[in-house]
């Protein structure tokens, strides 16, 4: 396997403000890499830099071993699909899809052939003579993808292509894109802020934050073994519960940490360099790892809580519970409530007193720097 796309120390400054701060990445042939991160993390800038629409301040970029850092988009062998579709409104679907090839003065038969092939792959043959304004959002996005396919690029670049679609269509297009990737076997780089898209479609996810790569890995590896607190908090919905804690004792491969509202916990750690008694750390527990136990259960890691809000999702239930003195940090709800995800319908109502518990082996430990220290929950089982 050769690297389809290689980024080496890509940096970009915009009016002196660093937007990309030394990004290095190898993308293999046929991978579906999803770059994900909060808004302003530089993911779209990075994609535009790969496309050649924006220049980079320093660094090197190769596609199939060819240095493309200073090449125009058309010479890089890429095709890009935009969030807003960017279809030419005065051209029919067929004209839109064949425009690039026509402008490159390719023989009309070849253009027709390429358009026909792309239309068949995307099942839009019956739309070829329509204008973009006669199409639905999903159809437009399909045409935009078709326009990319027509050019038979080395690499497909997608810039939040599903963000303008409604939820149902997004799910459908997600499946179609995955199918398309399997069918074409092409390298695809996909930018999104939606972690569900990242988790479902990616062969590998690149988590970006503030112009830096936080972690690269398969969706499950990132979910189960986040390299740091940012990745742990970014992937997974509802978000991981974070609790401020203090180290009490440090052993060979374990640490004892205390947090208000819980008895001291002994957690396995891989790295003790940042740990010493009295150090501030963060404890992380995924909402689905919390469970409701009987009120009188003699559970070592149990704590009482009061339900504040219930979100019924049918298949599952999300509870937001006040467990003071136990307080979470930076939760989605903007409160210090604990988020609990139950795998089934629940009849709990706001005001109910419950008792929550978790297995210490499922808890993550993050150093003050954000780095993950625990081996916990490494097992996806």
């Amino acid at each position: 396997m050769t690297a389809s796309l290689q980024l080496h120390q890509i940096e970009k400054n915009f009016h002196g403000v660093p937007v990309l701060r030394g990004i290095s990445l190898d993308i293999e042939e046929g991978e579906f890499v999803v770059m994900v991160g909060p808004s302003g993390c530089g993911k779209s800038t990075l994609l535009r830099a790969i496309a050649g629409l924006d220049t980079v301040s320093s660094g090197r970029m190769t596609i199939k071993g060819r240095d493309v850092t200073r090449l125009e988009p058309v010479d890089r062998g890429i095709a890009m699909v935009f969030q807003s579709y960017a279809l030419y409104p005065h051209m029919t679907v067929a004209e839109n899809m064949g425009f690039g090839l026509r402008m490159a003065r390719r023989p009309p038969a070849e253009v027709d052939q390429a358009v026909k092939r792309a239309a068949e792959i995307l099942r839009i043959t019956d739309l070829l003579h329509r204008k973009p304004k006669q199409l639905s959002g999903g159809q437009r996005q399909r045409v935009a993808i078709g326009r990319a396919i027509t050019r038979s690029p080395e690499i497909f670049l997608f810039d939040e292509p599903l963000s303008n679609l409604d939820a149902a269509l997004r799910t459908q297009m997600r499946v179609e894109l995955s199918t398309l990737h399997a069918a074409l076997g092409a390298t695809m780089v996909y930018v999104t802020h939606d972690q569900v898209e990242a988790m479902t479609m990616a062969t590998r996810i690149v988590v970006l934050n503030a112009g830096l790569v936080e972690q690269v890995g398969t969706p499950l590896a990132l979910y189960h073994q986040p390299a740091n607190r940012f990745v742990a908090g970014f992937l997974g919905s509802p978000r991981m519960n974070f609790l401020a804690a203090v180290v009490q004792a440090v052993g060979e491969a374990h640490a004892v940490v205390a947090t208000p509202g819980l008895p001291p916990l002994t957690l396995g750690v891989t790295d003790t360099t940042e740990l010493k008694p009295g150090a501030a750390v963060t404890l992380g527990i995924r909402p689905e790892k919390l469970r409701i136990v009987a009120a009188d259960a003699n559970d070592a890691t149990g704590f009482p809580a009061q339900v504040r809000l219930v979100e019924q999702l049918g298949r599952e239930t999300v509870l937001y519970a006040d467990a003071s003195p136990l307080q979470t940090q930076g939760s989605d709800s903007g409160t210090s409530n604990v988020t609990v995800q139950l795998g089934a319908m629940s009849r709990r109502a706001p005001g109910d007193a419950i008792r929550l518990a978790f297995d210490p082996a499922d808890a993550y430990l993050f150093a003050a720097s954000g780095k993950t220290l625990s081996v916990a929950a490494a097992n996806p089982s």
Binding site: S84, Y88, K133
Partner: protein, 283 residues
């Protein structure tokens, strides 16, 4: 502050509103009505001072026939076309090119250049009368079509550039990115993407510029002298001198002179379709 519909429950106000509307319309159209009526009046009417009453022995085409038979109006009319049409075309071409570059490319001095285009509009034309006339005399263009064409193109392009730049800037940026990613050259983008999407703007600008240039009187007087070059506006003024009493003929000539801008408006009207970019991006 904004106009609110008068409720159905106030019939008096509604009727008053309609009446006032009619009155304003009448005042607004009065000069036009007078000129139109006069163009159908016989010479007796004019002699007897019947300018506002019902025409006695009206003549439908008599005065119009006279315009062409006895005055050089046909010549003036043709001159106006020779001046206006190339001017409008040149303004459209130049302003589209300017607008495209100013809205889509960043380069040193772009803002200054744009400011010059816009700033030119704030100069009162009249202060340029002597220098421009001298310039044209020295260039050997005085009293030729080129003098008027050159001046109008130079002066209309400023406003037209402002208009086009803003219109092109409002086109979705991703269209240009998409084209660039496909390797479409700047000129191809201009011709195959920008110009088709600019159709409503071009139509509006064509009508405006056409009207400005066609109706220009000041520069026609300043820069032309002979009947073979004079446009219709300056020509009309001549008629007044030579045919002092023949107001009916002058009125008919005025009507003829007014036709092209009106025709232009109706001709271009169908291109003023809003939302031509619908479907380009989410919409």
């Amino acid at each position: 502050m904004y106009p609110r519909p008068i409720p159905e429950s106030a019939p008096l106000q509604r009727r008053l509103y309609m009446a006032v509307l009619g009155l304003v319309l009448l005042v607004w159209l009065l000069p036009l009505i007078a000129v139109t009526m006069t163009s159908f009046r016989s010479t007796q009417d004019i002699m007897s001072g019947n300018y506002w009453g019902w025409p006695v022995a009206p003549t439908l085409i008599g005065n119009y026939a006279q315009v062409f038979a006895q005055t050089p109006m046909a010549r003036f009319f043709a001159n106006s076309l020779v001046i206006t049409i190339p001017s409008v075309l040149l303004v459209l071409v130049l302003s589209t090119l300017n607008g495209f570059v100013l809205s889509r490319y960043r380069f040193r001095g772009a803002t200054l250049l744009f400011a010059v285009f816009v700033g030119g509009n704030f100069l009162p034309h009249q202060i340029l009368m002597i220098p421009v006339r001298d310039l044209m005399v020295k260039a050997g263009l005085y009293d030729t079509f080129y003098a008027l064409i050159l001046f109008h193109v130079a002066f209309q392009t400023g406003f037209a550039t402002l208009f086009m730049r803003n219109f092109i800037a409002s086109l979705p940026g991703e269209l240009f990115d998409a084209a660039r990613a496909e390797g479409v050259s700047a000129l191809q983008v201009l011709w195959y993407i920008v110009v088709p999407l600019l159709r409503p703007a071009l139509a509006a600008l064509a009508v405006l510029t056409f009207t400005f240039i066609w109706n220009d009187y000041f520069w026609a007087v300043v820069l032309t002298q002979s009947d073979s070059v004079k446009p219709v506006t300056a020509g009309l003024a001549n008629l007044k001198g030579e045919w002092l009493s023949a107001w009916n003929v002058v009125a008919a000539a005025t009507m003829i002179a007014a036709i092209p801008p009106v025709a232009m408006f109706f001709l271009m009207q169908r291109h003023f379709i809003a939302g031509l970019t619908a479907g380009a991006v989410k919409g």
